[in-house]
Amino acid sequence: MSNSTHNALSTKIGRRSFMKMAAIAGAFGATSAFASSNVTRAATEEEVKNPFPGSKKVRTICTACSVGCGITAEVQNGVWVRQEVAQDHPVSKGGHCCKGADMIDMVRSEVRLKYPMVKEGGKWKRISWDTALERISKKLSDIREKDGPDATIFLGSAKMSTEQAYYFRKFAAMYGTNNIDHQARI
């Protein structure tokens, strides 16, 4: 038990009125005589503002559905440390369903793919990007050569950004086929 807690608990204030004053600064605007006592210390200004000092807030958009809820991502030293509330977004007003509330897990989920892989003889094998792209493009070229561009189909995504989707369409066009589609078809 930390010292301050121990002290706090052993003081003779009725336990029901005991409180940790540091907590009610800020939005709730409360101050109290207890705040200056040495029972607990007040939160420092930096803490009150932000427990992740030096972090920046990035405005971004939820990737779950087409409502387009705002997300405020708190980033410290290049790490997304906390998903904050975008209370001032005109459509979502900070609201999220469970998917949106957990957007940070899209990035930090432990089961993400970490490196390129190929299945060989029924077993997964780690390969480098270079090898992967080399082998894929070789195969795509060969198939294009042998069976024509229409032997390939490209399936894009409604989870891409507009720019990526546009470039994916262009990519298929320059490969030479209209065999391209995405989830709007379901």
Binding site: V58, T63, D88, Y115, V118, L140, A158, A165, A173, N179
Partner: protein
Amino acid sequence: MANTWGYGAMTNSLGDIQNAKAIIIFGANPAVNHPVGFSHFLKAKERNNAQLIVVDPRYTKTAAKADIFAQIRPGTDIPFMYGMLHIIFKNGWEDKKFINDRVYGIEDVRKEAKKWTPQKVADVTGVSVEKLMQITRVYAKSTPGTLIWAMGLTQHTIGSSNTRMAPILQLCLGNMGVEGGGCNILRGHDNVQGATDMCCLSHTLPGYYGLSEGSWKYFAKSWGVDFKWLQGRFKSPKMMSTKGFTLAKWYSGVLAGRPGEDKIHNAGTNLKALFVMGNGITSIAQQAKVKEALDNLELIVLADPFVNEAAILTDKKDDVFILPAATQFETSGSVTATNRSAQWRYQVVEPLYESKPDQEIMFELAKKLGFYDELTKGMLIRENKKSFKWPEDATDEIARIIKTIGLTGWTSKRIKKHTDNWHMFDEVSLRGFGPMKGEYYGLPWPCWTETHSGSPILYNIHRPVKEGGMGFRNRFGLVHDGVDLLAGKNSAPVGSKVKGGYPEITAKNIEKVLGIKLTADEKRRIGKNWKVDTSGIIAQKCMEAGIAPYGNAKARAKVWTFPDQIPMHREPLHSPRPDLVKKYPTYKDKPNHYRVDTKFMSKQSEKDWSKEFPINLVTGRLVNMNGAGMENRASKYLAALSPEMFCDIHPGLAANYGIRNGDMMWIYSPEGTKIKVKARYSYSVSEDRVFLPFHFAGHFQGEDLSGRYPEGTKPYAVGESANTVTNYGYDIITQIPETKGGLCRIEKA
């Protein structure tokens, strides 16, 4: 929908729903699929006493908040809406002036509606006469009313008729182009609208430009590449203008030639390679066929942040590549929300592990395939640059080229400014305050010029064009059957120089329609018509004259190029009502439908499916997941909310099969496939149907395939894919699969 009035998109916005006096929802469950969007529905109820009407095969979470709920038999929305129109016309509740000035072809609808008496509708839909009358009265009398739909309307063989029927209902009530009205189609994924606008689709080019040689020439020029070179990339000029396979039926491209498989027309070859980027193809109907197709490909490439479960489903042993794509938070770009508003999705962190953003993967491959310079040149043209900056230069390239849906105003600078200042916009009207005054949040398209406000409500003639007003688009010619297709007198947007209808604006007619004179220089620079005018002259002159560049025409209730000119009811291919199949049979089989000979009549009439498969099968979403659920099942908190696949079944139905709550059960489909899932008692389904969520994968026909995940990538929840048992059946126009109205047989496992 685009075939009715010009654009196939949500007409109003989520916030605007708060202005509605009545809300009717067909085949959508926003409380589960768009919870934050649904908050605006709830506010409409509170603020406006809006009546919420839900028409759905299930008593959904949305229905739980409804004032009136009608439990409809899957696939009978058209009779239901004709039933409403029958009552509306009979009582003279339609908006006669609106119809007269702004709608073409309603007489045919009137005739068809006359046939759908409430009694007949009750028989077909399963909704009582009293309820139909009650709903119609409430909805017709409480204007403005907004009509909402989602996949529950589109995923049928008659989906494209459904999506014309709903607009017709709204047109008859004069609910279009007004605050609190509109046809508000709720899109699924975060950027379905954007990706669709960019036409990651097999039948169009970005911006819904067709595949004609003229379109390709426009794009070749805009991309800075030689048209002949581009044409040479295709097998033949003919294939360049031929629609490709779709996501729904690409598997036929692999399997064609085998006994019982549909024939294909694909330049003499089957599909050999599949390249997937961010698409959970385990959420496509006919999973067993998809698996067989995967097994028989030469190359499978799957780029995703998580394992694409196609890799787990297939028995293929070699040449299956999985590439770690970065998430959307590890790159940046614009996304288009369901209401056509753009937002800038800023990059949060650098790509983790070895993952790469999608565009980098594309660019690297293009380098190796030898067309990188051609691919990226479009980004250099606007400012004549040496190198490009992703994604800003791509955004600006799109703004430069895509005129059809008015993306000229969507420069990266403006979109970012909106996101940076999202706190300066009103929730209901989307109007900006302070420095953002005069613009609507996200500049909902069409955003005609770089100073245009955006158009939050489509077809609204109560605002000037430069503030987002417009009539219906002139897309289908000027005259049909001797009737003028342009809008009637006094139905032009406020402040328009022309008081009635006018055609779409071209270089040829601009001087006459707008009553202006172009200078010699303008005449030299102007493009042929508004869709290809990259000079901006047409848009600019139109704004000055209060004219919408795409014209001002009538919406059409009648689409003369479709097999059903007005929407007609046709029973699903697998219907529980053989008597109605005789009365309302489906279409003839359709040859070469996106390169595949697709079965309609031959499937429906093969036998009386309902004898062997007596139960209706409905699929849908869970609140904690979307799509194939790949991303969500990779989150432990979301997976914990529904850790296993289940089937919602009415206790009354379950009892007939000896299935107890929590028992495992088999579901068999007419396709000869089956899945094993856990029964969950629920009163949300009636005793003639069961419900399956479609987000699971990793099991296949009773077999657990989860040992196939590469080490450390198995999601926290796996299960049977509902789409293993969804039935054969595809929309006649779009080829969207009929997952919302099939049959099945159940058994205790």
